[in-house]
């Protein structure tokens, strides 16, 4: 999986401007990813992330836009260019592994080696190389098994090897861990991380699970309602969330005043039944919208002049008799608040 030999063309990475419309759904996003980098498109379900990924693959047509990969124009609506999926130098891992059930694991991995545009090996050669790859990824003992007989976690690992085997210029990952049992998600994510690292091409990952993005990606683009609302390194995004969705995704509160953002942790919020006499500058009277167990604590969603999340102990819930619909006072010490501007 060495990209250097493919030379200059691949060095340019991916450049995409995607505009799509279908019914009430409407997406418009642009991004550039250098080779070797993993970009994660993170956002709530139904935000249009998967549609963007399918458009990159050529599986869903663009309304308007341009996709350039390694200096080759794959799609350009203005120029009337649209390269069919099989001729694009990319592979994709879907939410479901979708191994060809009638083929062995070896033949699944060899499939791309035989047919992918940069490969086109003879069957015997492709199978030998598939065996080699399976051995290097610790899956050698599965090679002869029918794909339909594997466990969910095994299938997804084979699907990842199958996609990487082609050594594409672009690897697309569509929620690669979300269809798996919780027990094997971590394992699959670790497997993906290990093998993506040595992959020299561009990777675009779509996930609604921020953990995927944080473990796998160097850069994160937050997609809401078909638009990219924030991009940055995972660290930047978690420290400086720009939208309420991102803040809550990262488990933080976000208050916005013009171009000034103030963010703080849910554990920094203190709740009171009576209006407290306090030095805290941040004090609101809010109503409890919901109480949800959150690890050892209880996560309290508050609505009112601002929307906040507060993590309190179970003892506090009992002592203050917190329940839904109750009006409470919430305060945050200014020292707990990070303030930043655009």
């Amino acid at each position: 999986m060495d990209r250097a030999r493919l030379g200059g063309a691949a060095v340019k990475g991916l450049e995409a401007h995607l505009r799509m419309r279908r019914g009430s759904f409407d997406a418009d996003a642009a991004f550039t990813v250098p080779p070797g980098e993993v970009l994660a498109l993170v956002g709530p379900n139904g935000a249009g992330k998967s549609s963007l990924l399918r458009a990159l693959a050529g599986l869903t047509p663009l309304e308007e836009g341009r996709v350039v990969l390694g200096g080759t124009v794959l799609e350009d609506t203005a120029a009337g260019i649209r390269t069919p999926t099989p001729q694009r130098d990319l592979t994709m891992v879907f939410q479901d592994p979708l191994l060809f059930p009638h083929l062995s694991v070896r033949d699944n991995v060899a499939f791309g080696l035989r047919h992918h545009r940069a490969q086109a090996r003879r069957p015997r050669q492709a199978r030998a190389q598939a065996d080699d790859l399976l051995a290097r990824t610790g899956l050698a003992d599965l090679a002869g098994r029918k794909a339909g007989r594997l466990s969910g976690g095994q299938r997804q690992r084979v699907a990842i090897v199958r996609a990487l085997a082609c050594d594409p210029a672009l690897l697309l990952l569509d929620e690669p861990t979300s269809a798996l049992d919780v027990s094997v998600t971590t394992e699959a994510r670790a497997f993906l991380r290990q093998h993506i690292r040595t992959f020299g091409g561009v990777t675009v990952l779509v996930s609604h699970d921020p953990l995927d993005a944080f473990v796998l990606a160097e850069r994160v683009a937050v997609v809401e309602h078909g638009r990219i609302t924030q991009t940055g390194t995972p660290e930047e995004i978690s420290r400086r969330p720009r939208t309420e969705y991102v803040a809550h995704l990262m488990g933080r509160n976000l208050l916005r005043d013009g171009d000034t953002y103030r963010t703080f942790s849910p554990t920094a919020v203190t709740l009171f039944r009576e209006e407290p006499i306090t030095s805290a500058r941040n004090l609101w009277q809010l109503r409890i919208a919901s109480l949800v167990p959150h690890g050892d604590a209880v996560r309290v969603h508050l609505r009112g002049a601002v929307s906040l999340v507060a993590d309190v102990t179970r003892e506090a819930v009992a002592a203050l008799d917190l329940h839904e619909g109750l009006a409470v006072w919430a305060s945050v010490k200014e020292t707990e608040v990070t303030t930043f501007t655009d």
Partner: protein, 272 residues
């Protein structure tokens, strides 16, 4: 299933049971009659008759070739109908199904008008190559394929429609052209449906009578298949006709059993 549901929803109404039973009798009684009156004692002896052996062999050969022709022509047609969009697709689908509702005898006349010595294509075949189709074994195959093709196309199209198309998308992202994906992914996954369609087409070809006798005639050893032999024997030797009918009945039941196991034993049912 239905009997288990019945108590909760109330009694099964007699008004529905009675016609059902009558319908079942209508289907079964003739078959029972056939089996009861069959000349079991002289069965093997009659089977030794060269004319009967010829008819049996001709039927098996022509219906197998017809089923193969249906596979070669029908599977691609079913794929086009199931997996592509084109103008007039619903018209094409309707045309494919015409032989299903067309009286076979009309099919035979139509085949004569197309491939007969004076037919639209037949005349040209005769002039250019000296080939005449009517009253040849090839004509039998043609007539059988004409009536059997819709069965194959319908059942394969159904199988392709219910197959998971995401496998074709995966194949495309792995670089497979549509033709490669068709051969290596779509066809194997639709295997049980294609087998069922081929068996149906084969059974329909085996029983073909009207189109065959009109287009191919009844030449012993050349175009006289089992159904034609039965029809002829009915006039002179009813016992032989009954025996041949029992053989065809046996073959039909065998096809039905084979179909059932290919439906229930779908190879990839375990895959989500």
């Amino acid at each position: 299933m239905s009997t288990r549901d019945a108590p909760a929803l109330g009694r099964v109404p007699v008004t529905l049971v009675l016609p059902s039973a009558a319908g079942l009798l209508l289907l079964l009684l003739p078959l029972v009659g056939l089996l009861l009156r069959a000349p079991w004692g002289t069965f093997l002896e009659r089977l030794g008759d060269p004319a009967i052996r010829d008819a049996l062999r001709l039927s098996l050969v022509t219906s197998t070739v017809a089923a193969a022709v249906c596979l070669v022509l029908g599977v691609p047609l079913a794929w086009l109908l199931a997996r592509t969009e084109f103008r007039g697709r619903s018209v094409v689908r309707a045309l494919v199904n015409v032989p299903l509702v067309l009286p076979p005898v009309v099919g035979g006349v139509a085949l004569l008008m197309a491939f007969g010595r004076r037919g639209v294509v037949g005349q040209w075949l005769d002039d250019a190559f000296g080939v005449t189709l009517p009253f040849t074994t090839a004509a039998v195959v043609l007539a059988q394929a004409f009536v059997a093709l819709p069965f194959l196309v319908m059942s394969v199209e159904g199988a392709l429609r219910t197959a998971d198309r995401r496998y074709d998308e995966v194949a495309a992202t792995l670089g497979a052209s549509r033709l490669v994906a068709f051969w290596r992914v779509t066809l194997p996954l639709a295997g049980p449906g294609i087998a069922a369609g081929a068996a149906l087409a084969w059974a329909r070809a085996l029983g073909e009578f009207g189109a065959t006798i009109t287009f191919a005639g009844s030449v012993p050893g050349v175009t006289r298949t089992m159904p034609l032999e039965i029809y002829g024997a009915m006039q002179s030797d009813p016992d032989t006709a009954i025996m041949l009918s029992v053989i065809l009945l046996g073959i039909s039941v065998a096809v039905l059993v084979a179909l059932r196991s290919s439906w229930t034993g779908r190879a990839w049912a375990g895959q989500p």
